[in-house]
């Protein structure tokens, strides 16, 4: 299987023209399995999500390889007393798994987002205890595992133990391995 030239990975705002690419991963149960999103079922839903959620979002980026959108990264900042922290979520199309794309996208996110959201000092990620692949991505991107939160929330009807990972504005993004 060919590796990816990771210098071809970029982050940019979503465009309406990303709808078909968006549907191809957001319509895939294997991608949405560990996410709160319901799997998208149509191009219309993809268009509506891009228009109503992705584009007005406080910080959501399309993950691109070349000019093709293959995933997303979202940052949800808190408000009031919670304004110093933000939750991160991400997903990548299945055919781009295992090639370092998600790790690269997270490292790029961590290099940019604190400048874009100056109140945010802490980025955190909730990950299912059985979602080993995502745990590895976060660890390679430089996140610290804070602990295991028992029976924290339901995900698609199943009560979950979730790991909480964090990365601070003062933490150092690891250098790329390649």
């Amino acid at each position: 299987m060919e590796g990816v030239d990771l210098s071809a990975v970029s982050l940019r705002p979503f465009r309406i023209s990303d709808a078909d690419d968006f549907l191809s991963f957001a319509g895939d149960d294997q991608v949405t399995r560990f996410m709160r999103w319901n799997t998208l079922a149509s191009r219309e839903e993809a268009l509506a999500t891009i228009r109503d959620v992705c584009m007005p979002h406080p910080w959501r980026r399309a993950v691109c390889v070349g000019d093709r959108c293959v995933g997303f990264v979202s940052i949800w900042p808190g408000s009031g007393d919670d304004r110093c922290r933000a939750d991160i979520g991400y997903g990548v199309a299945r055919e781009w798994w295992g090639k370092g794309v998600a790790t690269r996208a997270l490292r790029m996110t961590l290099s940019q987002v604190f400048g874009d959201l100056p109140d945010v000092l802490r980025i955190q990620a909730f990950v299912g205890a059985d979602n080993k692949a995502s745990q590895r991505v976060l660890e390679k991107a430089g996140f610290t595992r804070d602990g295991l939160l028992r029976k924290y929330a339901y995900l698609k009807g199943t009560l979950q133990d979730l790991y909480l990972y964090s990365f601070l504005s003062t933490d150092v993004v690891p250098a790329a391995a390649d």
Partner: protein, 186 residues
């Protein structure tokens, strides 16, 4: 003047300083409420600034306490000396989880009262809310007394969350504790 009302089960203090019980906090409790809510030592690790007026305290009781899904006065010999609460999340995915908060008038510290009251409150909250699986507490890293209360009540320390929240203008590290409805006292 006191109404006889259904009281929560009483517990007794191991140190013999009076009978501890939980009941609803009422507007008529405002002066007792001010004794802890107006005290800077009590408010130090809390999100609120100490209450300085009866009007503000009444507004808090009316607006936050009375409609709250679970908010109790901690009473010693029937007199309110503190408060304990467990939040409820409205979204289905998060309804399994509630956050514990409590405060006790400083004159009653160091006698095991908070430990006893929190234990009773958590048991009550689990009993009243079948969908509740997890009660969690977010405690400032420097708030050792509160961490001891939770440890004595069988909460598990799950981790330190760096720069988790802003408390009175300062970013703070916190410890997260949890107790599950299925946890058994050892």
């Amino acid at each position: 003047m006191e109404e006889q009302e259904q009281q929560s089960p009483r517990t007794s203090s191991g140190s013999g300083s009076g009978v501890i019980s939980l009941r609803s906090l009422k507007l008529s409790d405002v002066d007792d409420f001010m004794a802890w809510a107006g005290d800077p030592d009590v408010a130090h690790f809390c999100r609120f600034e100490p209450y300085t007026s009866r009007e503000a305290a009444l507004a808090y009781i009316a607006g936050t306490v009375l409609p709250h899904p679970y908010f109790r006065a901690i009473c010693v010999d029937g007199r309110p000396v503190g408060q304990v609460s467990v939040t409820r999340n409205e979204s289905l995915a998060d309804a399994c989880r509630g956050e514990l908060g409590y405060a006790l008038a400083s004159g009653y510290w160091g006698r095991g009262i908070a430990t006893e009251a929190v234990r009773a409150a958590v048991a009550e909250a689990f009993s009243a809310r079948p969908e509740l699986e997890r009660v969690e507490a977010i405690v400032d890293v420097e708030n050792k007394a509160s961490q001891r209360v939770l440890e004595k009540d069988g909460f598990r320390r799950e981790g330190v969350l760096r720069k988790y929240q802003v408390l009175k203008g300062r970013t703070r590290d916190v410890v997260v504790f949890s107790r599950l409805s299925t946890d058994v006292d050892s």
